[in-house]
C-alpha cells in the first residue's frame, strides 16, 4: 500500500526544485505554501504579481501590515533586497519573461503540456482568471502542483484538457500527491513515484499514457 502526500508534502517536494538565485512566482493555495519549504539558506526571489519582488515569509500576528499583502491576499514580510512595484510593472516583468519559474495550481494538464487551471465552469458562478494566464504564457517554466485525481476519482493528467485552457503547451513538470511527472516531447514521463505504488497503480489513475524514467526515484517527503 501507499500513502498519498498531503498538501504540505506536495509543497515541500515542489520547493526542492527551486534553485538558488531564481525568480519564482507562486500561485494561490499549495504553490504559495512552497515558499516555506525551500531548502534552508537557498536564496530564491519570490515575486508576487500585486507588486512584490522578494516576498518574505508570511507575517506573524504582530508583524501584520494591512498595506503589505501578497497576491494570495496574505499578510507577508519583505525579504532582504525586496523591491515594490505597481501592477503594470509587475506584469511587464511576468510577461516579459523575467520570471524563471511559476508554480501554479491546476485542474487539468494534458500530455502536450496544455494547462487548465482557471475556469471550473461552476454553474451560476462568475469567472476568475487573475494572473494565471499571464504567468502561464510568460514565465520561463510552468510547474503545476495538484492532486493526481479529482475528489470523485477522475483523472487530471489527460490526453486533452476538457476545461477551458489557461495556456497551451506550457507545463514542464507536475507535482501530485502520487508522483512527479515531467511533460516531455512525447508526453508524460514519471520521474518519481510513491513507494509501494506500481506503475499500473499510477497509470490506472491517469488518463494519458505514462512513460517511466529509467532512473525513477521514490517520492519520499518528510513528515509535515
Amino acid at each position: 500500500m501507499f500513502k498519498p502526500l498531503n498538501r504540505n508534502q506536495m509543497a515541500w517536494r515542489a520547493a526542492q526544485d527551486l534553485e538558488e538565485g531564481t525568480v519564482v512566482n507562486l500561485g494561490m493555495g499549495m504553490p504559495v505554501l512552497a515558499a516555506s519549504y525551500a531548502p534552508f539558506g537557498r536564496e530564491i526571489i519570490f515575486q508576487s504579481e500585486n507588486g512584490i519582488i522578494g516576498a518574505g515569509p508570511e507575517a506573524s500576528e504582530n508583524e501584520r501590515d494591512p498595506d503589505l499583502v501578497d497576491a494570495s491576499s496574505r499578510f507577508v514580510t519583505l525579504a532582504p533586497g525586496a523591491a515594490l512595484i505597481e501592477s503594470a510593472a509587475s506584469f511587464a516583468m511576468i510577461r516579459g519573461g523575467h520570471i524563471d519559474v511559476t508554480m501554479l495550481g491546476g485542474f487539468e494538464v494534458a500530455s502536450n503540456g496544455d494547462l487548465a487551471n482557471w475556469d471550473m465552469q461552476v454553474p451560476n458562478k462568475g469567472q476568475l482568471v487573475g494572473g494565471a494566464m499571464d504567468l502561464a504564457f510568460g514565465a520561463g517554466e510552468v510547474r503545476v502542483i495538484m492532486q493526481h485525481q479529482t475528489k470523485d476519482g477522475s483523472p487530471r493528467l489527460l490526453n486533452a484538457c476538457r476545461l477551458p485552457l489557461t495556456a497551451p503547451r506550457c507545463v514542464t513538470r507536475i507535482y501530485t500527491d502520487l508522483a512527479v511527472v515531467d511533460v516531455e516531447e512525447n508526453g508524460f514521463l514519471v520521474r518519481e513515484m510513491l513507494q509501494g505504488m506500481t506503475q499500473e497503480d499510477l497509470q490506472s489513475r491517469t488518463e494519458a499514457p505514462l512513460a517511466f524514467a529509467r532512473d525513477i526515484e521514490p517520492l519520499t517527503p518528510p513528515d509535515l
Binding site: A88, R95, G131
Partner: protein, 225 residues
C-alpha cells in the same frame, strides 16, 4: 498656488454622473480607496462602467451598487463571488443585465497603462488560443500567435496612498500602489485618498506617482483598508 486637496467625499466625487466610467484601484485590501467607494455608494449615480481588478471588494464596500442595479458594465480579471450562492453581480451577469469584459490581470493592467500612455492597442501572446481570445485579432510574431488588446480609459479613477501633498504627489506604502498609478494616468479625473497629508512638498525620492496625474486629494486617515 496649486492645492489639490478637497474637503469632503462629496467634493471628491463631484462630476461622476450616470454613465461615467470609473476605475477603482486596490488589491487584497491594500490601496483600496474605501472612503471614496462608500461615498460613491451614497450618491445616486447609475449606469456606471467600472474598471476594477476584482468586483468582489466593490460589493464588500458598496453593496448597494449591485443591489440597486447601478452598474452597467465591468472590466476586470475576476468576477467570481465569495460565496457558494451567486452574488448579486453574478446573477445580473447571468441575466444579461451586467456586461463583463474579463481580461487576464496582466492584459488588464497593460490595457490601462496603454490608455494612459497614448497607445490605442498592442499585441500580446497572453490568452492566445484560449477562450479569452475569442473574437480578437490574431497575428504571429516570432512564430508565436498574439492577440490584439485595446486600451482602457476612464472618466474617473479612485486610488489610495499613504501620503500626499498639495501638488497631488503620492507616496505608497507596501503594496498599496497596484493599479493606482496606471488608473490615475488613464483617467480624466484622478482622485486619491491619502492616509496623511504632508504640508511640505514630498521630496523627489519619496514620490511614487507625480501629482500631475492626480486631480484631487482627499485626506482620509483612519478608514482605509
Amino acid at each position: 498656488m496649486i492645492d489639490k486637496r478637497v474637503g469632503s467625499v462629496s467634493e471628491a466625487i463631484q462630476g461622476i454622473t450616470d454613465g461615467t466610467t470609473l476605475m477603482v484601484s486596490g488589491f487584497g485590501g491594500a490601496g483600496v480607496p474605501v472612503d471614496l467607494i462608500k461615498g460613491l455608494a451614497q450618491s445616486e449615480v447609475r449606469d456606471l462602467n467600472i474598471v476594477i481588478n476584482a468586483i468582489r471588494f466593490l460589493e464588500t464596500y458598496a453593496p448597494s451598487l449591485f443591489q440597486d442595479r447601478r452598474v452597467k458594465s465591468v472590466v476586470c480579471s475576476a468576477f467570481r463571488g465569495r460565496d457558494r450562492e451567486p452574488s448579486n453581480y453574478e446573477r445580473q451577469w447571468q441575466a444579461g443585465e451586467l456586461a463583463i469584459d474579463l481580461s487576464p490581470q496582466g492584459s488588464f493592467s497593460e490595457r490601462i497603462r496603454a490608455g494612459g500612455a497614448g497607445i490605442p492597442a498592442f499585441f500580446t501572446p497572453t490568452a492566445a488560443g484560449t477562450q479569452l481570445a475569442e473574437g480578437k485579432e490574431v497575428r504571429d510574431f516570432e512564430g508565436r500567435p498574439c492577440i490584439l488588446e485595446t486600451a482602457i480609459k476612464g472618466d474617473f479613477a479612485f486610488l489610495r496612498a499613504a501620503e500626499g501633498d498639495r501638488f497631488g504627489n503620492l507616496r505608497f506604502r507596501g503594496t498599496q500602489a497596484n493599479f493606482g498609478p496606471i488608473m490615475a494616468m488613464a483617467s480624466k479625473v484622478a482622485v486619491a485618498e491619502v492616509a496623511s497629508f504632508s504640508e511640505k512638498p514630498l521630496e523627489a525620492d519619496q514620490i511614487h506617482l507625480s501629482g500631475v496625474f492626480i486631480d484631487r486629494i482627499l485626506v482620509a486617515p483612519g478608514t482605509g483598508a
